[in-house]
């Protein structure tokens, strides 16, 4: 599974790791729903750290699509909401 961390690069992860990512993603989703910037930062950092340690960074000249794209470590709730755009926080 290929995972992109925005502004950082792409990582190759074992499929089995997706459960761990889903668990961390729950925390992140809760933080965005609550609009809690501090909680968001730590949840995002935990998610990205998990990708970095479990995955292997792909070389910069590798070209291919990702299965997952994650916000950059500097992202804010505002920025994430902007990307989500019209879909808002509760998808239809």
């Amino acid at each position: 599974m290929i995972v992109r961390i925005s502004g950082e690069g792409q990582f190759d992860l074992a499929e089995a790791h997706v459960d761990e990512l889903n668990r961390l993603d729950d925390d992140l989703t809760k933080a965005v729903d609550a609009g809690d910037e501090g909680q968001f930062k730590s949840a995002l950092e935990a998610l990205l750290a998990s990708v970095r340690t479990a995955g292997e960074e792909l070389p910069a000249d590798w070209i291919g699509p990702s299965d997952l794209v994650l916000p950059s470590p500097e992202a804010t709730i505002h920025e994430v909401r902007e990307v989500l755009g019209d879909e808002g926080l509760i998808p239809g």
């Binding site: 992109r4 925005s6 502004g7 690069g9 990512l21 889903n22 993603d25 729950d26 992140l28 989703t29 965005v32 998610l47 070389p59 910069a60 000249d61 590798w62 070209i63 291919g64 699509p65 990702s66 299965d67 997952l68 794209v69 994650l70 916000p71 950059s72 500097e74 920025e79 994430v80 990307v83 989500l84 755009g85 879909e87 998808p91």
Partner: protein, 261 residues
Amino acid sequence: MGLMRRFSNIFKAKASKTLDKYEDPRETLDYSYERTLEMLQKMRRAVADVATSRKRIELQAQQLQRSAAKLEGQAKQAVSQNREDLAREALTRRQAIATQLTDLQAQHDQLKAEEARMVEGSQRLQAKVDSFRIRKETMKANYTAAEAQTRVNEAISGIGEEMGDVGLAMQRAEDKVAQMQARSGALDELMASGALDDASTSSDRLQAELDRGFAEPAVEAELSRLKGELTGGGTTAKQLDAGQPAEAPAPAQAPAEEERR
């Protein structure tokens, strides 16, 4: 759906829209390559913008540091003259500058980090551009309609994703630069108004008072020396009186005036 999946889906949907698709995949490859080159140019300009903004902050900080040092000197001068009021004023102003400097330092660090990320980003993009150029030529050379579609699509969505990512990074950098420029402008105005600055404007008064503090005792000393010479029958007075009848002491000015005539 979790945030991670929603973010991924929307990001990828947006990224794929950034590239036009042509009927012949080979054309799409060429078009995509052109777009990555444009993106690389934009990215380099964005890096330069961030650097310019950072340098401006550095200049402002230097200016503030000079002001702070000058005020520190003025405070010392005031203390040595027992002018606690002036020392207090100088130190208060220096404190305001110190606060601004701390803010500026934080902003500077942020910009520096942003700049480093942008440089890394443009290096990654450069690597992708180079590898994409080779890859698209290979794909075009060995083109067979049947297999091309998937491979081309993969390369194109990969490159589209990279462009979307770079686009986000540039957006973030532009926002930061705009914020920073607004702040720098406000600080320039503050400095020009003399609220922070020292010698050039408002603290002229401070310096003038300090100078007076030094000058006044010296002037007093000069004055008493002159008085002593003229009224106490100093040597100069005697010389000037030479040739005049030794009468009652004339007004000090009179002999000197006669002498000049």
